[in-house]
Subunit: 347 residues, 2 copies
């Protein structure tokens, strides 16, 4: 059957669906996969002596994504990407994925296939095989839980490893995902009317729907001396750096004028009369890597990362001793309050 | 805060909830746990040279369980138990669990705590640590996804390893979970009026709500020569043995009069005017281990398993060459049709 054909999951049944998924998720035969989809558990081999890394994330329709703004391919991409990002944040190498999916019986098989294609699109370039999972009917919308297993040959980079005197640095650029969310939420007509160009629109919507996990960057940073604490920016820089501070028992000072705000986010903010600095500092879901490092190493790390992966590293602040917390300062050294990042269960 | 106190998840917020879960799920410090809940990924050590096993299962309210028939503690128990059973079915040793949970903001913190207590109750005796997870709000009912990682020092037992001439055997007794389901579905008053005793009621409802994963049995069988194919009975003997036949390219003959039907299931069937043999052959969710083995080894395996774990092993049929499929025969050798097991998306 061709991808996209309009046949319901109800019609092919659970076994028919699992057969299609098994064909799509060609984990069997991939390196380290002794037994993939089709047995009670996957049987896997990791590199001898490596530390095993494991992370899991649940994405739920109307909480984490909205259809049809997000296509099945987008949903699959993002569900996989956020887990790859968690392994990258430890400095590890992602290896295997397990996927549990629940869809209503009326869901189209072609949509489920596209969801798997979205997952493969972001995972296959990194050699990650889908090796197992679960399928279920859903009484409501779509739900997808992805677990990714990875490995680290040395010491994973933890949130608790920041030291007073460290530089704080971030990969890539910030604010694009928040700009994309604002665009989808209410801003499409306004942004276009205000002259937001198609390239900037494409960049911010893609950043929101199909974020790029910094897998190569994480592996490089995770095996390079001088990198202390690391995590990914999923809940917003303010919230995430707050986690590093709390786990490490330190505080951080971040210069708002030092943040690498994406040009496309600046353009969208101008069109939408929003603050691009706030998007960059508190917006979340950029999936850049946030790290602390030896202050004497930060320039060399930046050059090395650029050479190895093409990705920028920007120093944005410093770690200080004492009480946990993040202080943002403006260009004149004055503290600026930032809204808290997204939190489930509230408002 | 005491367990069971009536405070909503909305009130404590996501971070407050994670803090409570972190206190409950004492994975940090357990053997092999380098980093547990609180970082981007868990960092774990498995036994050098062992094969890694990984399985995941999603349980959804109104699909897999109904409240209040199932309490939060029951839901937690079952979500963990079905994954432990999958590792046992490979003959492996479960080590670590990751838990993704979505609940509505109005959910009570005490209920979430009880759910984790249910998970711990069934996992802790086997030395399994909860090392990570995810929390989210749910727009509908409760959803819980558990991933369990395990290991096997030798060769995991696969569904594809059945050989013509093998004996087919099953641990424990069958039919209790289906009896429990019938009791909850419509039969409570009828069963009690017909004189079903409280002990049988307790046994069948417990089998349905809190099935016992055969972890010790799986580890013993998975390291004992002569055991070929193995899996757990989750979808019903007929469906599950069908999987072994399809994966192994063989067929199976099973004597209905050889099935180890639970006495409590017989009592419930008598009270509910149902067929206990059908519950045992097609009912599902007994989570017993189903295996094929060298026919000359089956008696010795039975004695060994009984000595090691106290659990019965019953030979119920034979593997034959040729076309996939399961044939059930009655006491006179006549084939008997069995209804198919539960399938998602249908009916």
């Amino acid at each position: 059957m061709k991808s996209g054909e309009r046949v319901s999951v109800r019609r092919v049944g659970e076994l028919g669906l699992i057969r299609r998924i098994r064909d799509l998720a060609v984990g069997a035969g991939a390196p380290g996969v002794l037994t993939g989809i089709g047995d009670d558990s996957a049987a896997l081999a990791i590199t001898p002596g490596a530390t095993l890394l494991a992370t899991t994330d649940l994405l739920i329709e109307r909480v984490h994504f909205r259809r049809p703004a997000a296509t099945p391919r987008d949903i699959g991409w993002k569900a996989m990407a956020v887990n790859l990002s968690d392994i990258a944040a430890m400095g590890g190498r992602p290896r295997f994925a397990l996927v549990a999916l629940a869809v209503p019986p009326s869901a189209e098989v072609g949509d489920v296939e596209e969801l798997y294609q979205g997952m493969q699109e972001v995972s296959r370039p990194h050699g990650v095989a889908i090796v197992g999972g679960d399928t279920s009917s859903s009484p409501g919308g779509w739900m997808i839980n992805v677990t990714v297993l990875g490995e680290h040959a040395g010491s994973p980079r933890l949130r608790s490893a920041a030291k007073p005197g460290d530089a704080v640095a971030v990969t890539g650029v910030l604010g694009r995902s928040a700009a994309g969310l604002a665009f989808f939420d209410a801003g499409r007509d306004q942004a276009r009317a205000a002259g937001l160009g198609p390239e900037a629109e494409e960049e911010i919507t893609r950043a929101h729907l199909r974020p790029t996990p910094r897998v190569s960057e994480g592996r490089w940073l995770g095996s390079t001396p001088g990198v202390h604490a690391m995590m990914d920016c999923s809940d917003g820089l303010a919230t995430d750096l707050g986690h590093i501070c709390r786990e490490s028992g330190v505080r951080a000072r971040v210069g708002l004028d030092r943040l690498p705000v994406a040009e496309a986010a600046r353009a969208a903010a101008a069109a939408l009369k929003a603050d691009p600095i706030e998007w960059a500092a508190a917006g979340g879901e950029d999936y850049e890597l946030l790290l602390t490092c030896d202050p004497t190493a930060v320039e060399e790390l930046g050059r090395g990362l650029k050479d190895a992966t093409g990705t920028l590293l920007t120093a944005i602040g410093e770690i200080e001793p004492g009480g946990a917390g993040v202080v943002f300062i403006d260009g004149r050294g004055r503290p600026v309050a930032m809204p808290a990042g997204y939190e489930h269960f509230r408002g």
